[in-house]
Amino acid sequence: MATETRVLHFTTPMTKGQLTDLRVGDEVWLSGTIWGVRDASLIRLFDEKIVPDRDFAGHFFLHTAPSIRSDEMGKVIPISVGTTTSMRMDRFTQGCISQLGGAGIIGKGGLSSNSSAILVKETGVYLSITGGAASLQTLQIEEIEEIIWEDLMPECIWKFRVKDLGPLFVTMDSHGQSQYKDVMDVASANLKNYLSTLGN
């Protein structure tokens, strides 16, 4: 039942039509704007309800907190841009997708079934980027265009312009499928089977 993996290139912002078409198993490469967010910036955005006046609609939120430096001209240069564990920030999916109109989340480790339901309701996707492979990903960042809330460094809101960021994998889609859930369901069943052989 091996099916050919679809490899798709997009420039953000994404349309709902493009997002509906994405299915678990697709490989995606993105160019354009990506917004970086993380624990502290998400707390300020959605718990403290401070929302900067920017158009986030159709854009992806990357769970990240990079290393940077400023050159002599004050231009911000990316030193290392990678990703972090998404599940810690699971309760902010609602804000990112429903409130700000984001296309989805890019991160590692996936999100819960609550988030999955939001992706179905709002037509969004979760894209997996390889955790710990930041050096490769850093080369795909063309520019850091804006940093919002530098007092939260490194957990600011980051506006990245990316060129062929990828490969990213659709692992949660807008049709309710989650590869994380599928894998963990199997893993839990495998564990249960093994434990039953232990006795006691």
Partner: protein, 300 residues
Amino acid sequence: MLLTKTNSSEDGFYSDLVNISAYLYKKALTDLPTDVRDAIATAKSNEGEMGKKFLNIMVKSVEVSDETGIILCQDTGICIFYVKIGSRLNIDVARLIEALREGIALSTSQHDLRSSIVHPLTRQNLQNNRGEGIPDVHVDFVSDSDDLEIRLLPKGSGSENMSFLKMLSPADGINGIKKFILESIVEAGPRPCPPTIVGVGLGGTADLCMSLAKRAVLRPVGEPHPDKEIAELERELLGVINTIGVGPQGLGGATTSFAVHIEYAATHISMNPVAVSIQCWRGERASATINKAGVIEYGY
């Protein structure tokens, strides 16, 4: 700066330690240990399509770090030092600890590393990867030795957040231990960036047990415990973990973990503690050993 020999003057020695610490931090974040590289290569031959894709991306990113010096993961971690001081050395341990901590701050500014360390309540970030009690420095003494061994583990939060401790009862026995370890692996799932190195602590007290689990992840992948019975349990657990199917990045596959490493200590008649400390696929670590003549040897 790469030092190859320490200064013979006392002040020079401690300022050299600052530089050695700074070097070790950048090295641990950039240069993947050879045993971990080998483990990735081995895993590739056992993986399906999806797992292989992730392992290939990991290999590519290791190559980028080798070529460019860009740190491998964005997480600069929370630094833990394990220091062994030869009993014949005359070392001011308080100065040594401060020098190692200062080295982390120096490396942070030298290499524009993200400061990942905050106060636990105020969440204030001093922007130098230091804070109260951090870097954590553990010091042991070795009899009949002239060597100073410094090992650095800049532990990433993705894996460190997946730490587990349970004070089992003696009646829970070995099966209770196995059950807890395997349940921890499934509980962690995709979050610690698998394939992981699983550190297990057995026995001791609650804090010692956790500390043993943490130290266990420092052992090179594939090096079994010298005690045969423990080595056999490591092999058995790794075998079971890799049938569970979490796989690379938690998206399914044959390699959930590269290794299981167990360290143990004696415990109380009414105790049976077990701890699990997980290390992400990078297995980041770096070491320096300084001999009597001041010659520094770097490793992982």
